[in-house]
C-alpha cells in the first residue's frame, strides 16, 4: 500500500538474549488520518511497540516505515513522532508556557515562532488563560492537556498515546475523550492509541488491533471487530460481557445433529457440511434468549444476575459450563432457579481448535427441539 502513513514490518523485540519475547513479529499498516487502537491486557507488548516506533527502544528485527521510508536508524526526537505518556511526564519545574514551548525551544526556533505556536496550541486545548500557571499546580486533566499540547506544538505527523485516559476520573475521562476526538478531526492527525480499556478503544479508534503475548491477533474496524472476531482470544476479550466460548465437536447429522462440549449436547438446526473434529463455538451474550424450560435448546441453573442499566447480565451454569446472556432488566430470577435458553444459531461463530482462528462456517437459522 502506498498511502500508508506508518507501517510495521515483522517488528520484533526480544529481551535477555531472546529468552523474553516482548513483541513477536507484528505487521501493521496505519493510514494517514486514521486512529488505531492497540488493545491488550498489560504485558502484551503494546507499550514496547510504542517505544520502538518513537525510538526509545531499538527493535531486535523488523522495520518501521513512515511514509515508505525506514526510521529505525533515526534517533528519537528526529522521527517526527510524538508520544504522550501514561503519567503525562509533564516538566513540573516549568510553567505551562515553558512546557508547551519546550519542543520548539530545544530545536532552536525563534522567539516569535515559538510564541505563536504556543498560543495556537493553548487556544486549541482551551488553556490560553492557564499559560503562566506552574505545571505542578495543575490537575489531572490539565496535565493531560499540557502533555498532549507539548507534543502537538512540534507538529508530529504521528501521535502516539500511551493509555492517556487511564489516570483520569470518569467525568474528566469523558470530556478528554471528546476533546481527543475533536482534535483528531480538526488537525487530521494519525493517532496510535495504546489502551487496555475496550470502551476507550471503541469510542476513539477507527480500527482496533488486539494484541496478546506480543502478537497482533486481529486488526479490524471497531464497528466490526466485536461481531466478527477472527481469533478466540479476541472473541473472549472484546464485548460486555465477551463472547461465550464452548469447545466441543459436532455429532450426528441432519435433523439429529448436535454440538457436544463434553458436559452437554446442544442440538443444532439441520445444516450441511458440519465441521469435523474439535472446534470452538462462539456465542454472543446478545444471541442467547430466555425460554420456557420445556422447549429450550439448553437448560441450566441461574448463578448470578447482574443488573447493568437497561440490561442485566445473566450467568447460567449448564453442568460445569458457564454461559453469560444479556436479558432485559425487568427479568426477575433468583439464584439456583432453572431456566431454559434458546439462541440465534445464525450468529454463532466457529473457531478451529489448532490455530484458534475463525472458520468460514455458519449454522442455518432455525429452531430445534
Amino acid at each position: 500500500m502506498s498511502t500508508c502513513k506508518l507501517e510495521l514490518v515483522s517488528l520484533a523485540k526480544e529481551y535477555a538474549d531472546g529468552n523474553v519475547i516482548a513483541v513477536d513479529g507484528i505487521n501493521l499498516q496505519v493510514e494517514a488520518g486514521e486512529t488505531i487502537a492497540l488493545l491488550g491486557s498489560s504485558g502484551c507488548g503494546k507499550s514496547t511497540t510504542l517505544n520502538m516506533i518513537v525510538g526509545l527502544e531499538t527493535p531486535s528485527s523488523g522495520d518501521i516505515l513512515v511514509d515508505g521510508t525506514s526510521i529505525v536508524g533515526l534517533p528519537a526526537g528526529k522521527r517526527d513522532v510524538g508520544l504522550v505518556f501514561q503519567d503525562y511526564a509533564v516538566f513540573t519545574s516549568m510553567s505551562v508556557r515553558k512546557n508547551l514551548a519546550f519542543g520548539l525551544e530545544v530545536r532552536g526556533k525563534g522567539r516569535a515562532e515559538v510564541d505563536r505556536a504556543v498560543a495556537e496550541v493553548a487556544e486549541l486545548l482551551g488553556m490560553s488563560d492557564r499559560l503562566d500557571a506552574r505545571a505542578k499546580d495543575l490537575g489531572g486533566s490539565e496535565l493531560q492537556r499540557v502533555a498532549i499540547g507539548r507534543t502537538l506544538v512540534t507538529k508530529p505527523s504521528i501521535l502516539l498515546l500511551d493509555e492517556p485516559l487511564s489516570n483520569l476520573e470518569t467525568a474528566a475521562r469523558m470530556a478528554m475523550r471528546n476533546e481527543l476526538r475533536r482534535l483528531q478531526s480538526e488537525i487530521g492527525l494519525t493517532i496510535i492509541y495504546v489502551t487496555h480499556d475496550q470502551v476507550e478503544a471503541f469510542s476513539l479508534a477507527d480500527r482496533i488491533a488486539v494484541m496478546d503475548a506480543g502478537k497482533i491477533l486481529h486488526v479490524e474496524k471497531s464497528a466490526v471487530i466485536c461481531d466478527k472476531p477472527s481469533h478466540t482470544f479476541v472473541a473472549g476479550f472484546l464485548g460486555f460481557p465477551p463472547m461465550n466460548l464452548l469447545r466441543g465437536r459436532f455429532e450426528g447429522a441432519g435433523n439429529a445433529a448436535g454440538f457436544n462440549n463434553g458436559a452437554f449436547t446442544l442440538p443444532v438446526p439441520e445444516t450441511p457440511a458440519l465441521p469435523k473434529g474439535i472446534c470452538t463455538m462462539g456465542i454472543r451474550p446478545q444471541a442467547l434468549h430466555l425460554a420456557p424450560e420445556g422447549g429450550a435448546a439448553m437448560t441450566g441453573t441461574v448463578v448470578l444476575l447482574e443488573p447493568r442499566g437497561p440490561e442485566s447480565v445473566l450467568t447460567v451454569n449448564i453442568g460445569p459450563t458457564k454461559l453469560k446472556a444479556l436479558v432485559p432488566s425487568d427479568v426477575r430470577l433468583s439464584e439456583g432457579q432453572k431456566v431454559g435458553l434458546n439462541l440465534d444459531y445464525e450468529t454463532v461463530l466457529f473457531f478451529d481448535s489448532e490455530k484458534n482462528r475463525s472458520m468460514d462456517f455458519q449454522l442455518n437459522a432455525g429452531r430445534c427441539a
Binding site: A76, G77, V81, F85, A89, F91, F102, G103, R150
Partner: protein, 303 residues
C-alpha cells in the same frame, strides 16, 4: 477517644511523662551549657580568675570588640567563607561529574563506587595528617613535581600563604567530594524517567535534557547537599589544624581555629564564647538563606 486510667492520667499525660527523662537529659547537656556559654560571653571571665559568678558583667563589650576592633576575627570569617565557597563549588562540580558518570554501566563500577566513598569515612584528623605528610618539603607531592618539572619545581607548601591555602582546599575537596557524589547520585537515580524520555522525544539533545529537565528536578537535592556541607565546612578545623595550625602567620586561620586559639591558648574563654555565638548566628542566617529558594518544594513533598 480519651482513655482515662485508674490513676487519673490520660494517655497523652502518660506519654508526656515518658518523654521526661529525655527532656531532662537534653536540658542538662544542651540547653544548660548553651545558656552558661551565653552568660559567659557577656562577662570578662577567664579560667585563671576564679569562678564564673565572680566575673564582672561587661554586657556587649566582647561582641563590640569582636565586630569592631578584632580584625583577626573578621579576616578569619572572610577567609572561612572564601575557602568554603571555593571548596563547595569544586566539590559540587566533581561530585556531579562523578555522579553523572556513575549513571552509566561500566566494568568495575561497584569497586570504584566503594573506592570513591572511602575518603568520606576517614577521620578528618587522619586526612589532615595524611595530607600533611604528602605536602612535606621532601614528601611525595614534591618528589613527583621534581620528577616531572626538575628540581626547582619543589615547593615549600606550608611556608607561603597561597600554597598553604591551596593545600587546605585540596585536602578538603578530596575529603568531602564523595559526600556530594553520594547525595547527587541518589538524587539523579530518584528522578523519574518519563520526563527525560519525553524531552528526548521532543527533540532535546542530551545537553539540553540535562540542563533543562534534569537539573531543575535535582535542585532540592543540590540545595540540601550544599546546606549539609556548608554547615560542616564553616566549622572547618581538624584538617587545617593538622596541616598548618593556621599558618603561615594567620593566613589559613579559620573561625574555628581562631576560637580554639582564643579559648585554649589565650584562655580568653568569655571572648571565645562571644565569637562562637556570632558564628552560630551567622551560620543560622546562612543556612536559612540557602534553603529559602527550595523551602516550599521541600516542605510540600512530592505530589
Amino acid at each position: 477517644m480519651r482513655i482515662v486510667r485508674p490513676g487519673g492520667l490520660s494517655n497523652a499525660a502518660i506519654a508526656r511523662l515518658f518523654t521526661l527523662p529525655g527532656q531532662v537529659v537534653s536540658l542538662l547537656v544542651l540547653v544548660m551549657p548553651l545558656l552558661v556559654a551565653l552568660y559567659m560571653s557577656f562577662t570578662d571571665w577567664s579560667p585563671t580568675h576564679g569562678s564564673l559568678f565572680d566575673a564582672s558583667f561587661v554586657s556587649f563589650e566582647n561582641y563590640s570588640e569582636l565586630l569592631v576592633w578584632d580584625t583577626r576575627f573578621t579576616y578569619a570569617v572572610v577567609r572561612t567563607l572564601l575557602i568554603s565557597i571555593v571548596c563547595l563549588c569544586l566539590e559540587f562540580t566533581f561530585g556531579l561529574g562523578l555522579a553523572v558518570l556513575f549513571l552509566r554501566k561500566f566494568r568495575g563500577k561497584s569497586l570504584l563506587f566503594s573506592a570513591f566513598l572511602t575518603p568520606m569515612m576517614i577521620l578528618p584528623v587522619v586526612v589532615g595528617y595524611i595530607f600533611w605528610m604528602l605536602f612535606q618539603s621532601n614528601g611525595p607531592i614534591n618528589q613527583i613535581l621534581e620528577f616531572l618539572f626538575g628540581p626547582q619545581a619543589a615547593l615549600e607548601w606550608f611556608r607561603s600563604a597561597p600554597t598553604a591555602i591551596f593545600a587546605v582546599i585540596l585536602t578538603e575537596v578530596w575529603h568531602w567530594t564523595p559526600l556530594f557524589f553520594l547525595i547527587l547520585l541518589s538524587g539523579l537515580n530518584s528522578i523519574p524517567e518519563n520526563p527525560i524520555r519525553a524531552a528526548i522525544i521532543l527533540g532535546a539533545s542530551p545537553r539540553q535534557v540535562f540542563w533543562r529537565v534534569v537539573m531543575p528536578m535535582l535542585k532540592p537535592v543540590i540545595t540540601v547537599a550544599f546546606v549539609i556541607r556548608a554547615m560542616e565546612i564553616i566549622k572547618l578545623f581538624d584538617e587545617v589544624f593538622m596541616l598548618t595550625r593556621g599558618g603561615p602567620g594567620s593566613s589559613t586561620e579559620t573561625i574555628s581555629l581562631y576560637i580554639y586559639k582564643l579559648a585554649f591558648n589565650d584562655f580568653q574563654l568569655a571572648y571565645g564564647a562571644a565569637a562562637a555565638f556570632l558564628v552560630l548566628l551567622g551560620s543560622l542566617m546562612l543556612v536559612h538563606l540557602l534553603l529559602a529558594p527550595v523551602r516550599d518544594q521541600l516542605l510540600e513533598g512530592n505530589r
